[in-house]
Subunit: 83 residues, 2 copies
DNA sequence: TCCACACTTGACATATTTGACAAGTCAAGG
DNA sequence: CCTTGACTTGTCAAATATGTCAAGTGTGGA
């Protein structure tokens, strides 16, 4: 509910993606390789660092590659907003 | 896990947004009005019908306006994939 | 019939994501 | 040193999301 700013939202979600990826022991290269369709490590990097505002479908493909649900990946309720 | 196609994903999420909006008794106009920043009913319509692939921040703003979490709004696990 | 409301659809300009490639940083190891 | 691996950063073209306006559809009420 906290009405997070756009740039903070992107950073929070990016960090969540990064944490999930690392917890699975994947590198960004691994992740990009597992994603459906074409996907460059460049994009992984940009999304993880919050420099880009990914689309729903992109988030979905990342969630799939990370073997978690979209819902889990975007569960930012309990996130420390320590940006 | 079912590896939904892009167009189906957009329709499923769109429908979920519509259902959530209607359950709150909002019209598309109400919703657009409650969304942070500029937002047109045109966009609500396009997103609900799955004709557009919304960005993370757009989804977040919609979730806020609907008073649900992003995670809830994108919980499509239990969705009938009856497209 | 006429009007208002809710929603859809088309077109358009602008901004931005995506995808692709090249180059740069930085750390660990040979 | 030098190389390799992981990641970042820049640029570019193409596709598309967003924001805006205008017009169209359908429904229900006065």
């Amino acid at each position: 509910m906290s009405s997070v700013e756009k740039s903070d939202l992107l950073k929070i979600v990016g960090k969540k993606i990064q944490e999930t990826r690392e917890s699975k022991g994947f590198t960004q290269v691994d992740l990009a390789g597992k994603i459906i369709g074409e996907f460059d490590t460049t994009n992984v990097s940009r999304i993880e660092s919050g420099r880009t505002n990914p689309t729903l479908y992109t988030l979905y493909r990342i969630a799939e590659a990370l073997e978690v649900s979209l819902s889990e990946l975007l569960n930012i309720e309990d996130c420390e907003t320590e940006i």
